[in-house]
Amino acid sequence: MPSPKRIGKIEFGLLSPKEIRTMSVRKIIWADTYDDDGFPYPQGLMDLNLGVIDPGLRCKTCDQKASECPGHFGHIELAKPVIHVGYTRLIRKLLRVTCRSCSRLLLSPEEIEKVVGTEDDLTGDVLSEKDIKKERLCPHCGEQQLKINFEKPTTFSEIFVDDGKKIEHKLTPADIRARLEKIPDEDLRHLGINPDVARPEWTVLTVLPVPPVTMRPSIILENGQRSEDDLTHKLVDIIRINQRFKENQDAGAPQLIIEDLWELLQYHVTTYLDNEVAGCPPARHRSGRPLKTLSQRLKGKDGRFRGSLSGKRVNFSARTVISPDPNLSVIEVGIPLAVANEMTIPVQANPFNIEELKQMVRYGPFRSSLTQPCGANYVIRPDKRRIRLAEGNLETVVEMIEPGWTVERQIRDGDIVLFNRQPSLHRMSIMAHRVKVMDGRTFRLNPAVCPPYNADFDGDEMNLHIPQTEEARAEAAILVAVEENILSPRFGGPIIGGIHDHVSGIFMLTNQLQWHTKEETLYLLKHIDIQHLPEPGKEENGVKYWSNKQVFSEILPKEMNMVFRASSCQNCETCKRETCERDAYVRIIDGRLESGTIDKKAIGAFDGQIVNRIIRQYGMKRAAEFIDDITHLSIRAIMMYGFSFGIDDEDLSKTEYGQIDEVLTSAVNDVQRRIKIYEDGQLEAMPGRTPEETLEMQIMQVLGKARDRTGEIAGRHLGLGNSAVVMAVSGARGSMLNLTQMAGCVGQQSVRGERIMRGYDDRTLPHYKKGDRGSDAHGFITHSYKSGLNPTEFFFHAIGGREGLVDTAVRTSQSGYLQRRMINALQDLKVGYDGTVRSTGGRIIQFRYGEDGTDPMKSSFGDPVDVKGIVESILKEEV
């Protein structure tokens, strides 16, 4: 590999007419491309000197074949100069800062020195248009300067006043070029232009380079007709007009005609360079489609820079919709057979594997069922020639294979592949999984790995890449594997863990003390790899029973000790510990769950205390197994109990509805009372607030409390028998607030944290009196989602809902750009072996990574050492 080189400098300049002619291999004069025999015209746009695209022909310049010839530039001699649209700004500036007669800078040497500085003490500044006063006299020749007008896209004119009338005098490109030619080199340097590489008159074209045919190839349509590239079309226009212009010029045509043709030539050259200039109708194809000319090839998302150079396409990749499969391990990924048959891994033949490889070649590219062993799609000979395996040649190829050949075999179970979901915002967006070839047409993944990818199954697609070399596979297995990325480097906690039904299931399984018969116990533990059931927890009437905590303990590592509080913990003032009526005090002693409920805090993604402890004590691999066991056990549990939610789960009894009504009525009355106090001028304002603000705050508070009260009333009726309550308490999904809104009362709708105030003069809707401050007039919704909203409530709900939507839309785009900029700034920094953070140039950014040299992934939620965890696991009690 070539060693990296440091770039000394980059020079930006303009192509001079001389350079254009030197690099040209052919002067182009014919507007036609091919003759009737399909052969390029000499000195036409497809001249054989410009390179070849047709196979079989040889380039007349370099004598190489179509695949090797890089192409060569030609040139067109323009009848008259035309302005390059890309430099109109520069031309305008130069015309304005130089004299119209002597072309020198309109500043005296002293004035220049003020901005640029003296020879020895340069300020580093260059002159700009602003440094020159308008319409002054030239300090060198005394000429009165005129105002230069610029009209998009390429028209320049001088304005002078004659008899009080403004007269506009058009400058032709030839006039402009003459002026630019006269600007002295020294003056250009003061303007920040290096005249050695960019003389200003080169911005007015006298000769046009013709790009090689290789960058504007013509394609042959199915009907045998040739279809030319947009650039070729545009060049045809230019040459045609240019020729006509020349003829008219030679024939001594009237000035008017010459001017018209000149303008037409200017238009064609302008659109050839950029077809999206303001004030210029874009040149169109016969079908009406605007042509894609030079600038359009480079610009924008699909342009050369963002589309072709920064954006890369790769081979050995696949993309399809994803769907969940809880029976897969988290380290696996399900791949459709159709994809597996297309994707290959190169294996070099050696004396030890040659028989195996020959067998694969014998199978060929046809694998019609999951049970069949993998075949091979290609064989590569030692001379790098590829042989595609097909029905006919399998046996002949098998005979030929010997050590040194390479067989591209299909992927099979156990192969390591990279799996990715965009946007790839953190390193866990690409992880290495083990292949599991499956039926169907989608990639399958365990739902527990959704959080790092931020994936769901509402139509998400994901990408898959097959590492092709032994090194790449080793790197994937050691660095990128799922089991190496359970911990997030963001906060040092697990990012993979149970979600949704895993949490609900394990919650229902472990909540309180339950007893299961042998059948039930075996049903729950069916997919767990254990040899024997533990001793039954109790025996009644000759029937053996196992407790739910025993069942869960089966998947815990044997010597684990930890104490923590579950998500359902209410943070009571004095903790009742083991006697907690919510069973939220989790105690694990010697790998046995002694008390407490397992929920989001214990096994959930982002929280997962048990998962975290297993990683610290037993390593990532054991943690991955534990997560697998969790998904299997919890899914069995949720299947055994059953879990569903319907509209009648939001029903309350008559007493509760009465109580809710009562609470809401009294709250609304309370609001009215407070408004009365305010209107009587009796309201005492809070410090730093106006009485009005005070009233608003009080109202928000009263109504907020009222909504919470209805939630409590509803919650009293809906116990753990209600699925929504199970989900909210266990932390699986939703909250008690969602439940309150469904069963109790939706509550106050707000915009920017305040009650809804916008709408008509002094009122939100014409349904209310002007100046009404009542709760209903400003978006308090007394109904629940179940009971249904009335029209005004519905309208207010839509207002509040819209704010949320706008917020998310704005936030995602803003934070996305913020992240992009940060990544661009930080991407090449790395931590050296001496603990310093350095840039690629070896410059030190931090003398010690993070100032403490701690890997955030291996830290415990930010702290270098998890003291509490270590002490707990030794003392076996809470500290």
Partner: protein, 83 residues
């Protein structure tokens, strides 16, 4: 009457000291770097002006860190380029 504020007395400004020639050489050999690879600070930085460091000298900055408690950092004084 002008009362000049000493920025180093402010709670949020960390301690700045000029390093001796020996210390600088030690620092360079510790990290095997040249002065070019050090982080920079302008000669007209308020803290630099207070301690009177000249262009080319190296400043030790000792700050209280959220993660490490006490963290040392070193900066090379350079001339502020004109605009």
């Amino acid at each position: 009457m002008s009362i000049k504020l000493n920025v180093l007395d402010h709670v949020m400004v960390p301690d700045h000291q000029i390093m001796s020639e020996d210390e600088v050489q030690q620092l360079f050999s510790l990290y095997s770097i040249s002065s070019e690879q050090l982080p920079k600070i302008y000669h007209d930085d308020p803290a630099v002006k207070v301690i009177g460091a000249k262009v080319g000298e190296v400043i030790r900055i000792v700050r209280m860190s959220h993660t490490a408690g006490r963290a040392e950092s070193y900066r090379l004084v350079i001339k502020r380029p004109k605009k």
